[in-house]
Amino acid sequence: DAGVTQSPTHLIKTRGQQVTLRCSPKSGHDTVSWYQQALGQGPQFIFQYYEEEERQRGNFPDRFSGHQFPNYSSELNVNALLLGDSALYLCASSLWDRDTDTQYFGPGTRLTVL
């Protein structure tokens, strides 16, 4: 049973560019959440998708957008990249209808903005 997978593993972009990160949830999960983890910090919640809709959003600008596909996989898009967007981006999956379910995290995508 595959866990949460993310691609690519590493990515290098320059300021002003756009980037797309991808996530496949754990088998059987229908909810995907995205987090940004800056160096030396804990993960910060970006947004959560269920039934192809954004359900909750953290304190991130509109440059951060996402999408969920019918197979529950998800993409995170970041436009007009800034140096401060350099971070590890984590995807987590869970079940929507279980309040106390656990989020399972993927290994992350390391984004470097030059």
């Binding site: 804990g42 959560q48 909750q56 953290g58 106390t100 656990t102 995290f105 290994p107």
Partner: protein
């Protein structure tokens, strides 16, 4: 808003020694509490969680944590540390009910000396 404080940025212990990592949270109602571990280049793995009931929670890899409402704490303990426990440890808190989103502390880096 909920918040988590992990007062120790780094903790150094000798292999075989006992371990306690501190976590204090701020939240008005009964919190959901978590401890995650992150090894270098890896995503987050859930060690244990507290939702309700017994305030002493057993987790994987020999870890346990105790919820103390009066102290707003959820400290992580292990009686005998192994070299493979060296990693980053994150405490997190989430609101009761709903599709919870955990708020993470900044983490404690555990260094294990042989």
């Amino acid at each position: 808003a909920q918040s988590v404080t992990q007062p120790d940025i780094h903790i150094t212990v000798s292999e075989g020694a006992s371990l306690e990592l501190r976590c204090n949270y701020s939240y008005g109602a009964t919190p959901y509490l978590f401890w995650y571990v992150q090894s270098p280049g890896q995503g987050l793995q859930l060690l244990l969680k507290y939702f309700s009931g017994d305030t002493l929670v057993q987790g994987i890899k020999g870890f346990e944590a105790e919820f103390k409402r009066s102290q707003s704490s959820f400290n992580l303990r292990k009686p005998s540390v192994h070299w493979s426990d060296a990693a980053e440890y994150f405490c997190a808190v989430a609101e009761e009910g709903g599709s919870y989103i955990p708020t993470f502390g900044r983490g404690t880096s555990l260094i294990v000396h042989p």
